[in-house]
């Protein structure tokens, strides 16, 4: 008797959840109030926990040995002097650039975008996805498709916005595809994430033309023909570029500048690519 009863029960649950899957797939707006209500309680808890968790994590991650740190310091000092040198040359070039730009009356495409700093409060709990949540949502003016930066370069894109949180899909996620280009030769390509590359912290580069001159070490940035990503955001550096078997195109890997394992704070650019398209 009890068996029969629970069989009916589970059947009912299965039917209901399949119905709800179908409904929410075609009408995702229906679930927005439910999720907002829920996150209203959960997000503050996670926010507090995050501070606690950071303390916890720092206990483990601070355990570098003294020698490692010393070596790192000497390395970094060498790097600083090298970078200073580069800055000086670049500064000179930047003046020249400004002058030429004025000459050509170009619009200032490299202007600093307005950004909002956000904290990462939760990550997808399984290893299947590279998705995380941030503590700002529609009340802070975040919108779907806004670009997300780490301190070093492009990190992801906002895919869902709740009242007080939003979901960010990183560029290494399996579903992510970014239209990109090389910075110096402006060859377009596609940078996509792959589940098999999560651990190696790499991305795939595909759709490179056979005639392209892209080489290992080239800077890969978001292209200006992308419909969602703002142009010229640094993604990473090309590596292991090779010709495909069909001898028609090339492909390779991109080593992203963002360290996706240690994301705690990110910046969301409040300008949408689609807005800038409307302007023109």
């Amino acid at each position: 008797m009890r068996n029969q009863q629970s069989r009916i029960f589970i059947l009912l649950v299965v039917v209901l959840s399949v119905a709800s899957i179908t409904f929410s797939h075609y009408m995702p707006r229906l679930t927005v109030p439910i999720r907002n209500g829920f996150s209203f309680f959960v997000v503050p808890i996670q926010d507090r926990l995050n501070n606690f968790g950071k303390f916890f994590v720092s206990l483990f991650s601070d355990r570098r040995t003294l020698n490692e740190t010393k070596n790192r310091i000497t390395e970094l000092e060498a790097e600083i002097s090298r970078l200073n040198d580069t800055i000086n040359t670049l500064r000179a070039e930047s003046y020249e650039n400004d002058r030429l730009r004025k000459l050509y009356n170009l619009s200032d495409e490299y202007a600093q975008y307005e950004k909002i700093a956000c904290r990462v409060i939760a990550k997808e709990s399984t290893d299947w996805f590279q998705v995380f949540k941030i503590d700002r949502g529609s009340r802070d003016g975040i919108k779907v498709d806004m670009n997300v930066l780490s301190d070093s370069g492009l990190c992801g894109i906002v895919t869902y916005v709740g009242y007080n949180y939003s979901t960010v899909r990183t560029i290494i996620d399996d579903e992510s595809r970014v239209s990109a280009m090389t910075q110096h030769s402006l060859e377009s390509c596609i940078v996509e994430g792959d589940v098999a590359l999560y651990n190696t912290n790499r991305l795939k580069i595909t759709n490179i033309k056979m005639s392209g001159t892209i080489v290992d070490g080239d800077r890969i940035v978001t292209s200006n023909i992308s419909s969602k990503f703002l142009p010229n955001l640094l993604i990473g550096y090309a590596a292991d570029i090779s010709v495909n078997d069909n001898q028609l195109s090339k492909s390779g890997y991109c080593i992203p500048v963002t360290d996706f394992n240690n994301l705690t704070e990110v910046l969301v650019i409040t300008k949408l690519k689609s807005d800038s398209m409307l302007d023109r």
Binding site: V13, I21, S24, P28, F38, G53, K54, A122, D127, N199
Partner: protein, 175 residues
């Protein structure tokens, strides 16, 4: 008599509240604490452990109910189509609940076996929905690099958590 009954109801409400609190704490730990510990290759599926343990200890109906609540937590929290997690968690609760009458829950080896099987089923489900349906067929890679670490970590946590859950629930039953 009347006072007694009211006390009983209060007690029942308190018990239900503590069970929900356990589930909620597990959910928060799974989403906000484990993934931030970067040296963990994989984060254990605590909520899954709770669902199958309650199914095993209390039978099908409770298993389904706990599964629904757990599934709702995930469905409300992650932005996928609504109901994906309710479906899998309630089914896991039901199947494990049906084992309730044939096994005593006190053996840890049974819990370990169930943990492996359930976690495997759960991972396969995610793989089918999110990868196979999009035409990604690198199953073997996923098996060795994502599913197996997840199953292993969940197994380790099962050994710790199951004992606690079992003792907690059996003592309560005894009372």
């Amino acid at each position: 008599m009347r006072v007694n009954r009211r006390d009983n109801n209060l007690y029942k409400a308190f018990v239900i509240f503590t069970h929900i609190a356990i589930l909620f704490v597990a959910f928060i730990m799974q989403t906000s604490i484990f993934p931030l510990i970067t040296f963990l290759r994989s984060s254990p599926n605590l909520v899954l452990i709770i669902v199958f343990t309650y199914g095993l200890l209390y039978g099908e109906n409770i298993g389904i109910i706990v599964g629904i609540v757990a599934g709702l937590l995930f469905d409300m929290y992650f932005d996928e189509t609504f109901g994906v997690y309710v479906l899998i968690y309630s089914l896991i609760g039901y199947v494990n609940g049906s084992l309730n009458e044939s096994f005593y829950g006190d053996s840890i080896s049974l819990a370990m076996l169930l943990s492996i099987v359930n976690c495997f089923v759960f991972n396969i489900y995610i793989y089918i929905i999110h990868f196979l349906l999009r035409g990604r067929f690198n199953f073997l890679y996923c098996l060795f690099n994502i599913m197996l670490p997840n199953i292993l970590f969940t197994l380790i946590i099962t050994i710790i958590v199951y004992k606690f859950l079992y003792d907690y629930n059996v003592i309560k039953k005894g009372n």
